[in-house]
């Protein structure tokens, strides 16, 4: 084979591998990893109910993310050990704000009400969020992928409405 033809073949092959890798990455990792300011340990906080920190899930559409004031209700001293984490904690206490990042996100065209699912239907948080209670570190990705198919499977099992307009806004 001539060197030019060989080069072209390798170029096409390289492009194919790059596109395939990108496609696999997009399918498997649809969002960038989420890095939390502190390595929050959910196991350590058992058997507290989720709603103690994630306030509003029973009364509102949106689930609350706890602010530093919620942590300070129980923690008088920094509950972390490494100097970097202690510094993050102290900064958050001074600023009276801790920036936790949401791992589970819904598209803008979807209406989802935590109140309807948690309070009215008594759905377990793990049904959508996976077993967060057993996590010792925050996951970089949602433990369970949120997809319309998952929603529809559950709605069919529970004989809930599958009318598109109920959830698409």
């Amino acid at each position: 084979m001539r060197p030019a033809a060989n080069f072209a073949l390798w170029t096409v092959w390289g492009l194919f591998v790059a596109v395939a890798t990108l496609a696999i990455g997009v399918i498997w990792f649809p969002q960038l990893p989420v890095r939390q300011p502190l390595a929050f340990n959910h196991v350590r906080h058992q058997p507290m109910a989720c709603v103690l920190c994630h306030r509003g899930v029973e009364t509102r559409a949106f689930a609350g993310i706890p602010d530093i004031a919620t942590c300070l209700n129980c923690h008088a001293t920094p509950p972390v050990k490494t100097p970097a984490e202690v510094a993050t904690w102290n900064t958050a206490v001074q600023a009276q704000h801790m920036t936790w990042h949401t791992a589970t996100r819904l598209p803008d065209h979807v209406y989802f009400s935590h109140r309807r699912h948690v309070e009215l239907v008594q759905l377990d948080c793990a049904a959508c969020h996976g077993n967060m209670a057993d996590r010792t570190t925050p996951p970089a990705q949602p433990l369970k992928p949120i997809s319309m198919n998952n929603c529809l499977d559950c709605h069919r099992q529970q004989s809930a409405s599958t009318d598109c307009a109920r959830c698409h806004k």
């Binding site: 009215l120 009318d163 806004k169």
Partner: protein, 227 residues
């Protein structure tokens, strides 16, 4: 199962356009530029159509609020290739934006011309960007949009009723235009409930439905001829 519908008394309508403003604000309907309007590309879920009747000197002007008629036999749903628009079991003709491929078959099939196509990405003045209604998504370039009878309000009202352990009361679900009308020219409710005002207005001898001979069976009724 209720069958939601609307009745509008044209003799009461003063043409104040409060319904138009309320609809735009409630449903994040974008503003149109003069250039878009010149091309017939303005987006409106509800607009006032001026109708002039009679001849000089006996001329009468009416304002007819035009919106999706939520037909019982909606022509738009029959031509949609992706089921992005469909009639649900409560009679609401819904539009699911992520499914819409922007073919505009539905807009052409609609005899009432009440479906709008997004030729451009919506642009909001900075001051208004924060006041968008979170219960309604902002549509994007390339999809059709139209009146939904504020179905997000139905979702909210149904949830509130369930939280209080009771059935949904008809008056809890009112579209923004009906709520805003200062002349009480619009009523909304269950057409199958003979005691509802909308059913009574729809059965009035003054009632008319637009282009009824096409067989679309619209669920918006207009009343006129009372004065």
């Amino acid at each position: 199962m209720p069958r939601w519908g609307m009745a509008i008394d044209l003799d009461r309508c003063t043409g104040c356009q409060a319904c138009v403003v309320a609809c735009k604000q409630e449903n994040n309907v974008p503003f149109s530029t003069p250039a878009q309007a010149d091309q017939g590309r303005q987006i409106s879920w509800l607009y006032l159509q001026t109708e002039i009747e009679g001849a000089y000197p006996h001329v009468q002007v009416r304002f007819r609020p035009m919106l999706c008629q939520h037909c019982d036999r909606p022509p738009c749903t029959f031509v949609c290739p992706t089921s992005a628009t469909y009639k649900n079991e409560e009679g609401l003709v819904a539009q699911i934006y992520p499914r819409c491929i922007g073919c505009r078959y539905c807009a052409n099939a609609c005899p009432y011309s009440v479906k709008s196509f997004n030729y451009d990405e919506p642009v909001w003045p900075k001051q208004l960007a924060a006041s968008l209604n979170k219960d309604v998504s902002v549509r994007y370039k390339g999809v059709i949009e139209k009146c939904t009878f504020c179905s997000h309000r139905l979702t909210r009202a149904r949830e509130q009723a369930a939280a209080e352990g009771r059935a949904l009361r008809e008056e809890e679900y009112q579209p923004a235009c009906v709520q805003a009308c200062p002349a009480n020219a619009m009523v909304f409710g269950d057409l199958d409930n003979p005691h509802s005002r909308v059913a009574q207005w729809s059965a009035s001898p003054r009632a008319e439905r637009l282009l009824e001979d096409l067989g679309t069976k619209p669920k918006v009724t207009y009343l006129k001829g009372g004065v």
